[in-house]
C-alpha cells in the first residue's frame, strides 16, 4: 500500500522557543498512500512539528522536501496551495461566519468575480454528507457544538485536493460514530494515494488506522515503526520513556462501588430544568461524593445540561437549587459562590485567557470568587500553582509563561487546575481529558476518584464511554436533547447496555432516586 518514495521528508528539524527546546534534530517522512501516526506525550512537539512543516513557525535548522524538492512554506495558505492541507489542533474557524463560508473561505466558487452562493452551499452540503453530517450550512458556525466545528474543519481540509493531509488531534471531541465515519474517509483518501499524518492520544485509534508510527519524546525523535511491529505497551513505553504501572491500573476496569446515599439530601437539585432549543426539561440530583456521568452522542445535549446547571446559559424552565442557596442558581457567579465549578470543553473560546500566564489563568476563578479587592497574596498563589503544576505534571513547569505557549494538552491541565484550586463541592467536567496524553489521563481519572472519595461531587462528560463507566456511580443518558434515562452503574451496566439505551432506550427507563 505504501509507495517507495516518500512524498514528504523532514530532516534535522530543530525549533527553540525562548526557554523551551520544542524540537531537536527531528527526522520525519511520509509516504504516499499511508496513514502515519505521530505520537508523543503532551508537549512532545507534535503540533510544533506540524506548524514548522506548514510554515506557521520558521525553523532554526533542518530542511523539508516535498516530492524531492526543498520547500519552505510561509504559511498554511501557501502550504495548502502546494498540496499540504492541515487541520490544526485548535479548530481555527470563524464562528461568526456560516458553515459554508467557513469551508470555502479563501477559495469561494466564483463566476466573473462574484461569489456563487448557491453553488457554495450545495457543495458544502455534499461535502458534509460525505462525513455523514446533515447541517444547515447557512447557519452561523458558532451555533454548533465544538465537535461539529471540528468536523467542519475536517470537511474543509479534505475538500482541498491535497497530496498530504495533516490532522492534529481531529478526533479529540468526536464520538465513536463520527470517528468511524472519519476513518472511512481517511481510508478512502489513503487508497487514492494521499499521505495522511494523524495525531491522536487514543491508542486504539492508532491501531485501528495507522500504517506507521513515529514517536517523539521531549522534542526528540524516538523512532519510526510499522504499526504491526509495535505492540501497544511498547508504544507507550517509547512515548513516556519508562515503564509505568499507572497504565496497567487503567486497564483493570474495576467498577466503582456505589455510594451509600441513604436519605442524604442532594447537593445540587435540578428540577425540570430546560431551555428551548437546547435541551428538554430534565431533573437531576447530584449528591456529595457522587460521580454522575453523562453519556450520549454528539449533539445529544450533554454540554447543554452542564451549562444549564452551572448557569452559563439561562434556563427558561425549572430551576437549579443547591442545599446552601436561598434562591435558585442563575448565573455562573451564583453557581461558583455555591461551590460549583465548570470546566468547559471548548478551552480556546471558553477556557484559557491566552495572554495571561499559567499562574494567572490558574488562580482566575478563585480570585473572581474573592472579588478584586482581596487579591490572593503572591506567596499563596505560588504555593497553589506549584502544587497543581506538580500534581498534573504541567510542562514546561514555568508558571510565568503565557498559557498560549503551552501545548494543547497542557493548557487543558491548566484549566482543570483553575477549578481544582477553588475546591468546589460540585465539579462539572466537560471532556476534561480532551487532548490529554495516556499517562496524564490516567492521573486525572485517579484524581477524580480521589476527589469524590473525599466528598466532592462530579458531573463527568466524556465522548469516551469506557471513561464514563469507569468513573461514574450513575450514568445519565442523553438522546436528542432529552435525558432519557438515569442508570445506576452496577455490575449489570456495560458499554453495550448504555449504547442500547442511547439508541433506543425507553424514556425514563429505570429512573433511580
Amino acid at each position: 500500500m505504501t509507495g517507495d518514495r516518500p512524498v514528504l521528508t523532514m530532516t534535522g528539524i530543530s525549533k527553540t522557543f525562548p526557554g523551551v527546546r520544542a524540537l531537536h534534530d527531528v527526522d520525519f517522512r511520509l509516504f504516499p498512500g499511508e496513514v502515519h501516526a505521530l505520537m508523543g506525550e503532551n508537549g512532545a512537539g507534535k503540533s510544533t512539528l506540524i506548524k514548522v512543516l506548514t510554515g506557521v513557525y520558521g525553523t532554526d535548522a533542518g530542511t523539508v522536501t516535498l516530492d524531492g524538492e526543498q520547500v519552505s512554506f510561509t504559511g498554511p495558505m501557501q502550504a495548502a496551495a502546494a498540496g499540504v492541507s492541515t487541520v490544526y489542533q485548535e479548530v481555527n474557524l470563524c464562528t461568526n461566519l456560516s458553515v459554508a463560508e467557513n469551508i470555502f473561505i479563501g477559495r469561494e466558487p466564483r463566476r466573473l468575480g462574484a461569489v456563487r452562493w448557491g453553488e457554495m452551499r450545495r457543495r458544502a452540503r455534499d461535502l458534509l454528507a460525505r462525513l455523514d453530517l446533515d447541517l444547515d450550512v447557512s447557519a452561523q458556525l458558532g451555533t454548533f457544538s465544538l465537535a461539529v466545528q471540528q468536523m467542519v474543519a475536517i470537511a474543509r481540509a479534505i475538500d482541498v485536493r491535497a497530496r498530504v493531509l495533516i490532522l492534529d488531534e481531529p478526533t479529540s471531541s468526536l464520538d465513536a460514530g463520527e470517528v468511524a465515519q472519519l476513518f472511512r474517509i481517511m481510508r478512502q483518501l489513503r487508497d487514492e494515494g494521499i499521505a495522511i499524518l494523524f495525531v491522536t492520544h487514543f491508542l486504539d485509534q492508532v491501531y485501528g488506522i495507522a500504517d506507521r508510527i513515529t514517536v517523539l519524546r521531549n522534542g526528540a525523535l524516538v523512532g519510526e515503526y510499522r504499526t504491526g511491529e509495535l505492540p501497544q505497551f511498547s508504544l507507550v513505553e517509547k512515548m513516556i520513556g519508562q515503564e509505568l504501572d499507572v497504565l496497567e491500573r487503567l486497564d483493570e476496569q474495576q467498577k466503582r462501588a456505589t455510594v451509600a446515599l441513604d436519605g442524604q439530601a442532594p447537593l445540587v437539585d435540578a428540577e425540570e430544568v430546560g431551555r428551548r432549543g437546547a435541551v428538554a426539561p430534565f431533573s437531576l440530583r447530584i449528591h456529595a461524593g457522587e460521580v454522575v456521568g453523562l453519556a450520549g452522542l454528539l449533539g445529544s445535549g450533554r454540554t447543554e445540561v452542564a451549562r444549564l446547571i452551572f448557569g452559563a446559559d439561562r434556563a427558561d424552565h425549572g430551576q437549579v437549587r443547591t442545599d446552601g442557596a436561598r434562591s435558585p442558581l442563575r448565573t455562573p457567579i451564583h453557581a461558583i459562590d455555591q461551590g460549583i465549578g465548570f470546566c468547559s470543553e471548548n478551552r480556546r473560546a471558553e477556557g484559557i485567557v491566552p495572554e495571561l500566564s499559567v499562574r494567572e489563568n490558574m488562580i482566575l476563578a478563585m480570585q473572581a470568587a474573592r472579588g478584586w479587592l482581596r487579591p490572593i497574596p503572591r506567596r499563596r498563589q505560588d504555593e497553589l500553582v506549584q502544587k497543581y503544576v506538580e500534581a498534573l505534571s504541567i510542562r514546561p513547569a514555568n508558571p510565568e509563561l503565557p498559557v498560549r505557549n503551552l501545548s494543547g494538552g497542557n493548557q487543558q491541565k491548566v484549566l482543570l487546575a483553575r477549578w481544582l484550586i477553588t475546591e468546589p463541592r460540585l465539579l462539572i467536567l466537560d471532556e476534561p481529558t480532551r487532548g490529554i496524553d495516556v499517562g496524564a489521563k490516567a492521573e486525572i481519572q485517579k484524581l477524580v476518584v480521589q476527589l469524590s472519595d473525599g466528598g466532592m461531587a462530579v458531573l463527568f462528560i466524556s465522548a469516551e464511554l469506557e471513561e464514563v463507566l469507569r468513573l461514574s456511580h450513575r450514568v445519565a443518558v442523553m438522546r436528542d436533547r432529552e435525558m432519557v434515562a438515569q442508570l445506576t452503574n452496577d455490575d449489570t451496566l456495560d458499554a453495550d447496555r448504555v449504547m442500547r439505551t442511547i439508541a433506543s432506550g425507553t424514556p425514563r427507563e429505570e429512573v433511580t432516586r
Binding site: S47, K51, G55, V56, G58, S72, F73, T74, G75, P76, M77, Q78, Y88, Q89, E90, N92, F310, A312, P332, I333, I336, F342, S344, R348, A349, E350, G351, I352, V353, P354, E355, L356, E360, L364, A365, Q367, A368, A369, R370, G371, W372, L373, R374, P375, I376, R404, L406, S407, G408, Q411, R418
Partner: protein, 356 residues
Amino acid sequence: MNTVADRLRPLTGHRLFWPALVLVVMIAANTVYRPGFLAVEVKNGHLYGTPVDILRLSAPLILVALGMTLVIATGGIDLSVGSLCAISGAIACLHISGAADQNSPATVATALALAFGAALVLGAWNGVLVAVIGIQPIIATLILMVAGRGIAQLVTEGQIITINSGPYRAIGLGSFLTLPLAILIALAAALLVAAFTRRTALGLIVESVGGNAEASRLAGIRSRRVVFLVYVVSAACAALAGFMVTANVSSADGNAAGLWIELDAILAVVIGGTSLAGGRFSLSGTVLGALIIQTLTTTVYAMNISPQTSLLFKAVVVIAVCLVQAPAFRARFRRRRRGVEPGPAAPQREKEQVPA
C-alpha cells in the same frame, strides 16, 4: 555582532525598550538641532526650559491616556474624553466666574467637585451603554463625543468663559518644589491608578476580561462591573485633564478644550505597548507614550514646521514607532539581515494565528 545582539536580547525584549528608545532618539535629535533644547534654569524658585514645558504640557494627555489604557485593556475604547475635558472645564469655570471671590479656595474646590461629579455621571452613562446595554464601545462613546461638545456649549452659552482665579490657574501653571504642579498631579494619578490596579486584583481582572470575555464570565468574573468601572475611571481622568487644559489659559472654550485629545491618548496607549485588541496593559508604557507625543508636538512647533505638514510629520513618526514595535515587522527585518528569503506572506503571519 550576533553575540552583542544576543546579549542585548533581555533589554531589547523589554516591553518599554522601544518606546523609551524612541523618546531618547527624539530628544537627541532635538538637542542636535537646537543645542539649548535641554537647558533648564531656575528663576524665582521655578524651573524653566523646554523639557519642563514638555512635562507640564504632557500632563493632561497622560491623565486622559491613563483612563484610556484601562478602557482599551478591556477591549473597549473611549472617544468621549475630549468632550468630557470640555464639559468639566466649562462647569468649573462657570462656577468660578459666577462667584464673588474668584480667588477663594472654597469656590475653586466647589467648582472642581461639581465638575468632577458631572464627569463621573457622564462616565457612568458611557459605562451603562457599554456594559449594561451592550452597545459597541466605539458607538456608545461616539454619542457623548458628539453630544458632549453641545453640552459644553450649553454650559458656556456659546461663549468663552474667562476667569481670573489664582488657585485654579495653579492647576495648570503652578509649581511645587520647583516642579510644575500639573506633572506632579499627573504622576500622582498614574501612581494611584497603578496601585488601584496592581495592588488589588483589578488589573488581572481587566486583562482577563479584555483577553477573553467569555472565559472570564465562566470563571465567575463580574465583567459588567469591571467594564462599567473603567469608563467611570476614564471620565474621572478626563475631568482632571479638563481642569488643566482650561487652567492653562484661564478660560473655558467649549469648542477647543481637549479637542482631539482622545486620538492622542489612543496613540499614547498604543505606542506604550497596550494592544487595541485588549488584554495586557502597561501604565508606564502609556506614560512614555504620552511623553513621546508631547515631545513630538513641541518639536514640530520648535522646528517651525507649518501646521499642515506638522500633522503629516506626526503621522510618520507614529507609524514608525508602531512598526518597530510590531513583532511581525521586526521578525521580517531580522530575517532579511540574515539573508534568508522572507516569503511574501511573512507580514501576514500574525493574522494567521494557529494557536497550540
